[in-house]
Amino acid sequence: MKWHRKEKIAGLLFIAPNLLGILLFFVIPALFSLGMMFTDYKFANPKYHFVGLDNFKKLFTDDIFYTSLKNTTIFLAAVPVSLVIAFVIALLLNRSVYLKGLLRAMFFMPYITSGVAIAFVWMLLFQPTEGPVNNFLRGIGIANPPGWFSTTDTSMYAIDIIWVWFILGYNMIIYLAALQEISEELIEAARIDGARKWTYITRIVWPLVSPTTFLLLVTGLIMSLKTFGIIQAITQGGPSNSTTIVSLYVYRTAFSYYEMGYASAVSWVLFAIILAITLLQWFGQKKWVHY
């Protein structure tokens, strides 16, 4: 009994320094924010009132909020697209012998690069009148190339393209690791059975890496939901809110309009979406993931 208590104290002592910080910088702010979403707290005016569910009522009639939900959905579409491309690249890279390390580094480079630097470069590449991308498109005979960030109906898709490119390297690395776990015997057996390449990939490899696919899909969605830096640096959510995703909207409501109470309410809606996706991971994986 005495030994147990001593162990418990030792354990807690090791965890305590980290735990204190987690309480201070995660738990207490989160609780604080939970309370704040029922108030009309504004930074400029420290007097605040309890307003009950008013912030949520406002939310349901807020057009920009609905636009941000729609934009977020378009934004998240980049995740599965990137996964498919990453899978194909990983398959090809797994077989190739030459330059594997160099290629892996090349694909991975966007992921370790500063989002702001990426924003700069793509802003110029997608410049509508003289940018290299549109010059290229005109060069191959497309008379009216897209306006990218300059028009409301293409801006979100331009962000998607960047995002697919940005998360590609990470997804590819994880797929490569998963592919290396597939046993040689299985590959040999398939070859002896005369499985054709396509059948082999769709019937054997893809199901075998499905846990990885699922994990990458869910963590990719969650990671993307939390991000806004690249979009803030490129478009600040414009033109006319066409690239305002929910996380960016929270930032802007809080630190441009100083509507802290309302921003807290929107941020918890974001949390609810993340929670839903996490629960989906928890319960859904058994349905279609083959272990």
Binding site: E7, G11, L12, L13, F14, I15, P17, N18, L19, G21, I22, F25, F26, V27, I28, P29, A30, F32, S33, I89, L93, S96, L103, A105, F108, M109, I112, T113, S114, A117, F120, V121, L124, L125, Q127, E130, P132, N135, F136, W165, L168, I173, I174, L176, A177, E181, L215, I222, G229, Q232, Y251, A254, F255, M260, S264, V266, S267, L270, F271, L275
Partner: protein
């Protein structure tokens, strides 16, 4: 395959080439991959202007290094507690840690803003350094690694009378050098590239980090495309060096923690 790889880094190549071009050559089509003559003045401007990147570099290095060292030590301690010491409530506590990962930073921005303002560290480097010391990912990743170290190695020392602290410091940390290096490199890349926190918690230009410095540069020079590319190049050089040096670690660390996850 090599072509596809090249296509991925084409934006970076274009960025570097553009940073040493003359302004009239930026949008020339077909793209001039080799400029007529190298123009270095854009880089000079970035490094020596009124708001110099040298200052941003110093700020970013200070925040990233102090942040990474603190995060590594505190995460390793907690990871040891979660992996080598048995006590009631430990697993529930760990689950609670993992659930914290779901909270989006946006939820925390507003209360942290108020908290930092109240504590007097808003608009100081501490507002970035202090929270970065407490990394849930670090605890998670190092715990995974510690679990993999054979128990016999630490139990022998325990029987010889060594306490937990001695085992942790003299045995566990030296055994975990690769995992610690992996975490430090990944954490450094996050800290170096962190734009969101700096955007929210820093207002004084003297305190700006590299990502904010880049953002600032574009606000003041938004038609100087060559300068923008020189600034972007400056912003990614350190990460490029770290990546070249630690590529193996980054890739093993990320794939290890995700596949086993």
């Amino acid at each position: 395959m090599f072509g596809l790889g090249l296509l991925t880094i084409l934006p970076f190549l274009w960025m570097i080439v553009t940073s040493v071009k003359s302004p009239s050559e930026v949008f020339v089509y077909p793209i001039k991959w080799i400029p007529d003559h190298l123009v270095w003045e854009h880089h000079v401007k970035v490094w020596t202007g009124k708001q110099s990147f040298a200052l941003y570099y110093m700020n970013s290095l200070k925040i990233s290094i102090v942040g990474v060292l603190g995060a590594t030590l505190l995460s390793a301690c907690a990871a040891y507690g979660f992996s080598r010491i048995e006590f009631r409530g430990r697993d529930a506590l760990f689950l609670f840690y993992l659930s914290m990962m779901m909270i989006p930073p946006q939820v925390l921005f507003v209360p942290k803003f108020v908290l930092f303002d109240w504590a007097g560290i808003y608009n100081t480097h501490w507002a970035l350094i202090l929270p970065s010391w407490f990394s849930i990912f670090g605890v998670f990743m190092l715990r995974q690694f510690f679990i993999g170290i054979p128990r016999e190695m630490t139990e022998a020392a325990f029987i010889d009378g060594a306490g937990h602290f001695k085992i942790f410091w003299r045995l566990m940390l030296p055994l975990s050098k690769p995992a610690l290096a992996t975490f430090m490199i990944i954490d450094f890349s996050w800290q170096w590239n962190d734009y969101e926190n700096a955007l929210v918690f820093l207002t004084d230009r003297k305190l700006y980090t590299v990502p904010l410095g880049m953002q600032n540069f574009i606000l003041e020079n938004n038609i100087d495309y060559n300068g923008m590319m020189a600034a972007a190049t400056a912003g990614i050089i350190p990460m490029l060096l770290v990546f070249i040096a630690g590529q193996k670690f980054i890739i093993q660390g990320l794939s290890g923690s995700a596949v086993k996850g």
